[in-house]
Symmetry: C2
Subunit: 588 residues, 2 copies
């Protein structure tokens, strides 16, 4: 019943006309094999693969779930998942953006975002597995000693092995300073002992070996976050013996049932240090930034699937006559519900916000490549600043809005949407975790407000603000843009005002900053998306084909019917922490 | 693991100090046995019953689900549910508000709302079953011929039998005019043939007999909604034989797994007409109005359970130190997360909105009793007007806000909230249907905008507006109230402006009205709740005990940090239908 079609036209539009991929990334020496047509051919192929191979196992995987044999600590994935993983590897999807020197294809990183959305739309639980490997490969590439790296990286790139990230412990999730997993020296390596929880794809039968990247403490480690080191802990040791890291239990979750979420016990597990002692958070952040963007993309992918499903329903289902006699279909007792304004309102809320979310994800992704591969150093730095600033927005706003959009899509489908028949209920259950893992959405807001805004006297914010100011200045005479530039200018003013408030009130009072951070992140995201809609309009205006005409209409809808949300966000930021700190514990 | 405590203090406050139960309802002849202390003793007893008997079966019922034997069409409920139903009957909860002449206890109807919240907090799937019986009893009491009524009503009141409401057919949910179930005359009764879907508790093993109230058409029925009649179709006929109405299948849903949602097939089922031919919607509306308030209460009950759970988590879980050194607990590596502003923000958003939702539900419920039992006819009419106006708000806003609150509660609990261990995930899955069934939330908005607003030149709106104007006028000199009365006055202005816009633009253009109806309903709800918060503040001000002091603080939080949502709602209503009707089908 479930169907999916990759949004190829929108993808091409964003890459080609909005973010100018052909004249930037495609011209870089490293990416000369990846011109736009080549990339789009890959996207189309992956779209077919996701729709035909990944999606059919999405619902069956949810129903079957994951089985753990407590005696042997082995974990069995749903029927077909091993074969699906092999096919995924054969599609070249694991090695795609890895460097050629380790056996990778060397494609631009932005493809992870483009293809990640497609994969997530079709099977989130499965897509998580290679996604984690991807983050681990990044960490090994940048932080592991060559001897260690060369043993593990090629086999991860080839997909023969997979990897995990082991951060959380029972006493610490958000606050990693509380980590207590301990290392003891033994020869050239370490013995790790501790318990990790919430380990996604921590144990499974898709590959023979699993490479765990684990946060722990060396014997002489300082307390807190500055005493954390990163270790590599393989399930199977190079000599073929089983390492002392085992799955001690599975979480029973609302969704992503086909994805094992494991308790991992280490009892003197053989481990190697990755990077410098006590500097483990560095390697972990390398993994986390890419991972955070990918989690944001999960919100978008799920919302896109929900949209397509709800739209299909709205085109088929007949209930009530159109309120406008001119729209009534002859010979029918009722019209398709797509004629009803409220159904359109819900669908356009999803469509217009999804297309904005996609632009935000792509902007972040494109800047990742610019920050790494642009020949000009200043351009690299500016792009890196944008990535640093946009990553928390992408992770948080895409997952939060994505969830709301899924709920709206369910509402379009009425009772059908609540049943397993239409798959949206699974999408809702699966996607909800994205607001929590990889740093809760409020952790993203703290990252934005407490770290990114203050960096180097506001340099990052300045880079962002300059983009908007420049656009407004350059296009002030373009009357065709006025309907879009004017509200952009207004919301940018709101953001500036809120940023100023954070500087004057949040600086001296961290509780003020924490209280408004989540609303500020949303205001920031909507401002960024309004800017990106302006870029889309500018690219589309004057073109008379159906796609571009619809783009401008969708932009208009966004500015009229979504952007006004910023009125409330501004008011809430002005309200600050209100009286929320005045409540005693027993008053709650 | 799951725990629950009925919010007794808030319940008493609302009944006694805000809605003046002791000097209104308790003084009516019919309710002289139900003074406030008696009522509160009942509430406390039901709170204990719900926490100790209903809640423990909530999670096990979700896991076990419902079994259908297709050969015999029998449906088996989860372990313990038969015993639970018997205990529920013994608590007097089925007969509570039924008239004494049919074996009922004759309690005020508002108790259904008070106790309904408690039951829903603890076990929604189960609570649905007696809830449906209740609606059916109302319909039989008011519409069935005495001969028919006297056979069925006493056995429903005693709880020996249960009832259902059978409306939806595969081709019609929202649009009941499309109903095609057909009746053929046979002697003094009818033979019904057709298929009904989404029938909640349509078949089960809790009682021997099940009394179905079914919408269908007589042979001479006019087309559409004006040709629908209401029939009574028992599972077991008076002579003890099995009637030709059977369960043909169960829906597989996201939640309420312990509640069977049935396809019901009738093949010449023996049926009796309830009320007049072709006037079936009347009887159905009698059932639906009470049922709609009860569905709203489901949203509140679920959100209250989620709040209590998240609060328990936030008091136990330690992560990070407080941002304010003065709040740091000595001898701890981290503080309980309740000290963090963002956690407080989420919890207060839930607490302050839940207490507003409860006040809205009670206002509707109290007016139900006033409309039926007040000695003064004008008072009865005014109360009936309020019930008519408030019912769509209660159904839609409580379920929508309730769902958002559950999602916030999950966010407070982080990863734990996503697992089955903390029960919120089930609450989210269970509650989501409340936005859909009993008329989708948009149907409520249409009811408000298209029917209730226009009734008798706006009489209902006038009754509502007078309450607010009078309050503002009476209290204009009370400076202690200014912080609350001023924003009330402002939001009332916004609502008046929106209502005016609906009159001028929505009247001539039904598509405009439909496009803004849902946002208008939310603006209306927040206005009503702001008024009710003012009543709460007025009752609490000047009292120095902890409960009343916290009430005023919570009110302040509502006005500062929730009511600003109306800024966006106003802007969206002004945006009207925007360009949403300009999109061709293929542009979506």
């Amino acid at each position: 019943m479930a169907q999916y079609k990759a949004p190829l036209r929108d993808i091409r539009f964003l890459l080609e006309e909005v973010f100018d991929y052909p004249h930037t990334i495609a011209t870089f020496e490293a990416f000369r094999d990846f011109d736009l047509d080549t990339v789009m051919a890959m996207v189309e192929q992956v779209g077919d693969f996701a729709a035909n191979e990944m999606l059919p196992l999405n619902k069956s995987g949810d129903a079957a779930g994951i089985q753990l044999d407590p005696a042997t600590h082995t974990v069995t994935t749903p029927a077909g998942y091993k074969e699906l993983y092999r096919a995924f590897v054969e599609q070249g999807l694991v090695s795609l953006t890895q460097p050629a020197e380790f056996g990778g294809t060397g494609a631009p990183h932005c493809l992870n975002t483009v293809l990640g959305e497609i994969q997530t739309s079709c099977n989130l639980a499965f897509a998580l597995a290679p996604g984690l490997s991807h983050g681990a490969m990044e960490a090994l590439e940048h932080h592991a000693a060559p001897a260690l790296r060369d043993v593990y990286l090629p086999k991860l790139v080839s997909g023969e092995w997979m990897a995990t990230m082991c951060l959380t412990e029972p006493q610490c999730g958000t606050d990693l300073g509380l980590i207590s997993t301990k290392a003891q020296a033994e020869g050239d390596h370490w013995k790790l002992t501790g318990t990790k929880i919430w380990i996604t794809w921590g144990e499974h039968d898709l590959t023979e070996n699993i490479i765990h990247l684990v946060l722990g403490r060396l014997p002489d480690a300082p307390a807190g976050i500055k005493g954390i080191s990163l270790f590599l802990v393989p399930k199977i040791l190079p000599d073929g013996t089983r390492n002392a890291i085992t799955c001690g239990g599975l979480e029973h979750k609302m969704g992503i049932h086909a994805s094992p979420t494991c308790v991992m016990n280490m009892e003197g597990a053989h481990a190697w240090l990755v990077g410098e002692p006590h500097k483990g958070m560095r390697g972990m952040f390398t993994m986390m930034n890419a991972a955070r963007l990918m989690v944001g993309v999960q919100g978008l992918g799920a919302a896109e699937f929900a949209y397509q499903t709800a739209l299909r329903f709205a085109k088929e289902r007949r209930q009530s006559r159109s309120l406008n006699p001119a729209r009534r279909e002859a010979g029918q007792a009722a019209d398709v519900i797509l004629v009803h304004p409220d159904v359109r309102r819900m669908l356009l809320n999803i469509k217009a916000s999804n297309e904005g979310l996609r632009a935000l994800a792509y902007w972040t992704a494109i800047n990742t490549d610019l920050s790494r591969s642009h020949p000009d150093e200043r351009a690299r730095q500016g792009a890196a600043d944008l990535v640093a600033l946009l990553t928390p927005l992408a992770k948080s706003y895409l997952t939060e809005r994505g969830f709301d959009n899924i709920s709206d899509a369910m509402q379009v489908c009425g009772g059908s949407g609540y049943t397993r028949d239409w798959d949206i209920e699974q999408t809702m259950r699966d996607e909800r975790i994205a607001m929590i893992y990889e740093g809760t959405n409020h952790i993203q807001a703290i990252d934005l407000v407490g770290r990114k805004l203050g960096e180097d006297h506001g340099r990052l914010y300045h880079v962002f603000g300059e983009k908007i100011s420049l656009f407004l200045k350059k296009n002030s005479a373009n009357s065709a843009l006025t309907d879009f530039a004017l509200p952009l200018s207004k919301v940018f003013g709101r953001l500036n005002e809120a940023t100023q408030l954070l500087a004057t009130q949040g600086q001296p009072d961290p509780e003020f900053a924490d209280a408004v951070a989540s609303n500020y992140l949303n205001l920031f995201s909507l401002t960024a998306i309004a800017y990106l809609w302006c870029l889309q309009v500018k690219a589309a205006l004057g073109q008379t084909d159906a796609f571009h005409l619809t783009k401008v209409k969708t932009a208009r809808y966004f500015f009229d019917c979504i952007l006004p949300e910023t009125a409330t966000l501004s008011a809430l930021i002005r309200a600050g922490k209100g009286n929320m700190m005045d409540f005693a514990v027993e008053e709650f």
